[in-house]
């Protein structure tokens, strides 16, 4: 066995129980040992990736959106959050808003705002997307929840704070928000990193499911989808 054949073995065979000739080569060749170790780690990482989480209401949403799109041959397939939001709200289930924020590199004070309507007394996932140009360690997160609303799992807490990291690329913060009917206010998410603050403000208004359905129906009608 030579180094080339060992590398071929690495890319074609499962790494458990290698034959004697492989072991023998590994015992003599430091660079192949290194490659072997890395390949083993890579396989274990790939094999142990967690199951992706299927968003709440995905099945209904995708069936409705694709049915509508298929009925409107000349419309391009509807994409985007506005429509997804409309369709999920129509179903009385939840999704939120994506505020995209490019940090390249992170610095200064940034403010991003948006506004959403959420159904009252139902958990709505407010998603905030953060695109980081490079990994950021020791990031402080603070979420301020308006009166009349709370984060699921954090009853009675108007402020939830923790620290963590941002990976390179897209990071998604899922805030499961439950709001009383009529509640309105600003959901504020602050990121603190290297002495800088980045704040995301989302105006949230909670209204009764029925009036929300009416709004969404009009929205869909305007988009010529119903």
């Amino acid at each position: 066995m030579d180094c080339n054949r060992l590398h071929t073995y690495l890319d074609t065979e499962p790494l458990v129980a290698p034959p004697a000739e492989v072991l023998e080569h590994l015992s003599q060749c430091a660079s192949c040992r290194e490659a072997w170790a890395l390949a083993g780690k890579v396989q274990r990482i790939l094999r142990s990736l967690p199951e992706p989480y299927v968003p709440l209401g995905f099945e209904e949403r995708v069936l409705i959106l694709s049915r509508r799109a298929s009925e409107h041959r000349h419309h391009r397939v509807a994409r985007g959050w506005a429509l997804a939001l409309a369709a999920t709200l129509l179903l009385g289930i939840s999704i939120g808003i994506v505020l995209q924020w490019a940090a390249a590199p992170m610095g200064g004070y940034q403010l991003r705002t948006g506004a959403i309507l959420v159904p009252a007394d139902t958990a709505t996932v407010v998603r905030i997307a953060l695109d980081a140009a490079h990994p950021l360690h020791h990031v402080g997160f603070t979420v301020n929840v308006p009166q009349g609303m709370q984060l699921q799992g954090h009853p009675g807490e108007q402020q939830v704070a923790w620290s963590g990291e941002l990976a390179q690329g897209r990071n998604v913060l899922n805030l499961r928000l439950v709001a009383r009917s009529g509640a309105a206010g600003t959901l504020e998410t602050a990121l603190h990193y290297a002495g800088q603050d980045n704040i995301f403000k989302v105006q949230v208004v909670a209204i009764e499911d029925e009036s929300l359905r009416g709004i969404v129906r009009r929205l869909l009608a305007r988009m010529k989808l119903v």
Partner: protein, 193 residues
């Protein structure tokens, strides 16, 4: 209810149980939740437009995996999004998708770094290579099973897997020119060296 409605209701009843599986697969293919939704939606639009007799299909689940795979490999060009480089749903107490949590010891940080590098490399591969690694190395389906699912010859899959792994490993070893010797010794000792 018209005949069209009947067919639609039947179609939806047949595919609905598989949509979660398709989403998870699409998420792993694309690396992005919105892309995953778009990809499954694209597939469903096509199925609505050209209905097939799904009820007569004995292996509907497998067929859906194949058509999703083919759509992704042959036609999916993407997208505005940069790849996540991660597939972690909610490790931090359900709040954050992509966060390693509280500051971890150095070793954990190394492991997390490697994990991110692996995912970044995975999402830099071609759709074809990534799809096969997802099905084979992530989901653990065997090559003989995949010849059945994808209707591709075993030889094609073998050489595709070889090239995909080689590319992945090459990308990673460029980033990891020197694995620490103690780690290497640890790894190898598992194999009786």
């Amino acid at each position: 209810m018209t005949g069209n409605d009947d067919r639609r209701v039947e179609f939806e009843a047949l595919v609905r149980p598989h949509l979660g599986m398709l989403y998870r697969l699409a998420y792993r293919f694309t690396g992005h939740s919105q892309d995953a939704e778009d990809l499954v939606q694209e597939l469903m639009v096509r199925l609505y437009r050209s209905p097939r007799n799904l009820a007569a299909m004995p292996t509907l689940r497998r067929w859906l995996v194949r058509v999703l795979h083919n759509l992704f490999v042959d036609q999916w060009r993407h997208r505005l999004h940069t790849p996540f480089g991660h597939l972690h749903p909610e490790p931090w107490d359900g709040l954050f998708e992509n966060v390693a949590g509280v500051p971890s010891p150095e070793q954990e940080a190394h492991a997390a770094d490697l994990r991110r590098q692996v995912l970044a490399a995975l999402y830099n591969l071609s759709n074809e290579h990534r799809a096969l690694l997802v099905l084979h190395d992530v989901e653990g389906r065997s090559l003989p099973e995949l010849t059945d699912v994808l209707h591709l010859p075993l030889g094609t899959l073998k050489s595709r897997l070889f090239r995909a792994r080689r590319k992945l490993r090459t990308a990673l070893s460029e980033r990891n020119p020197s694995a620490r010797p103690d780690v290497v010794a640890d790894e190898v000792s598992q194999y009786g060296l």
